[in-house]
Symmetry: C2
Subunit: 220 residues, 2 copies
């Protein structure tokens, strides 16, 4: 039985390895978990002897098949709980992340399956993040971001990959939520800024780094 700490380590290794590089560094991992690097090293070594990760000392860590299975379970719980909090309890999508962080380690499979059914087996959570299936399949579709997409093409926001309350509240305030329509009108690399037009001609300006967290798909 994985402890809460173990579940969190595995979840964060999964999330950090999503974005490309194969091995997750101790630095990244320690920062994500808000522990000191030495703690991450110690824990990773323990996880490695349990067969949940493989550790290449001095280079980084990666999930084993078993570790990935556990991590996907945690992620599934997290995202179903977030969806429940928004859809049923009508909480704000900008504030449910922290709540789900707590509950994801305490909910049983029975309760989770009931929630999933109540919600109609959703494919994504309120941020647009894909929900792993019971069988451990995770949709890995790659989207463009506002920082990388074409200019003046009609777009639909599909996902916002940032959990911080401030960022999400900023996004919500300007209508940058999953499902919203948008169009990039100008991208200024020198100033690292980007301008876009939302519904009803609302204009929004944001930094390229922020834009990188907003995933979009072309509107057919």
């Amino acid at each position: 039985m994985a402890t809460i700490a173990v579940e969190n380590y595995l979840k964060h290794v999964l999330l950090l390895s999503e974005g490309g590089d194969d091995l997750v560094s101790m630095g990244e991992l320690a920062a994500a978990l808000a522990v000191v690097p030495g703690t991450a090293t110690t824990m990773v070594k323990a996880l490695a002897t349990e067969g949940l990760v493989s550790h290449r000392p001095r280079y980084g860590v990666r999930l084993t098949a078993e570790g990935r299975r556990v991590a996907l379970g945690v992620l599934r719980r997290h995202r179903i709980i977030e969806t429940f909090l928004v859809e049923v309890l009508k909480m704000d999508w900008t504030e449910v992340h922290a709540e789900a962080e707590l509950l994801e380690h305490a909910i049983s499979d029975t309760v989770l399956d009931r929630l999933d059914a109540l919600l109609g087996h959703p494919a994504t959570d309120p941020h647009g993040d894909p929900i792993p299936t019971r069988l451990g399949k995770l949709d890995s579709q790659v989207y463009a971001t506002l920082a990388t997409c074409g200019i003046d093409k009609p777009l639909r926001i599909v996902r916002v990959t940032e959990q911080s309350g401030e960022f999400l509240q900023f996004a919500e305030q300007h209508g940058l939520r999953p499902g919203a329509k948008a169009r990039v009108t100008e991208r200024n690399l020198a100033a690292s800024l980007l301008t876009l037009k939302m519904d009803r001609d609302r204009t929004v300006t944001l930094s390229l780094s922020a834009a990188g967290h907003i995933l979009v798909a072309p509107v057919k």
Copy 2:
């Protein structure tokens, strides 16, 4: 911030002191928490220095006002979660106790208040146990039990004070659930048995000790 272990100790001191005796013994407490007695002693001493209980060494332990406040919070969470699991997720009232035991330490006040509102601010959980209010008021109405009530009087079951799955499934199987109507037809002290008539002339026999866990009120 109280840890999970601290919350559990305080909750069990509260539950064990409900049934009468002022001081809760280390033996009872250790048994309720499934730890060895020495562990309970150690923990209780720590709780005492935190001002959450007062410990009379060799005699027992009692909650302070602050400890009671914390314990009532845990109990409120537990019972609201149980109610949610039955009313919204349609789980069986005989199986929700263990689930709530896990979730009660992970749910925030925000989520709890939303659940409470969704459920219409219930006064009791599915077992008939009273739910402490946000302000820490706990209904302490005293009921007769099937072991102590009068013979041949029409009764309504108001509460079942046993959490074990087996007991509850037995109760459910024979219609002994909160709200059901019943009438004691015979009480045999020698054999420590009791017979009662339920709806549609169903007859049920159970031990006096089991009967002591089924609380009843006279039907007006």
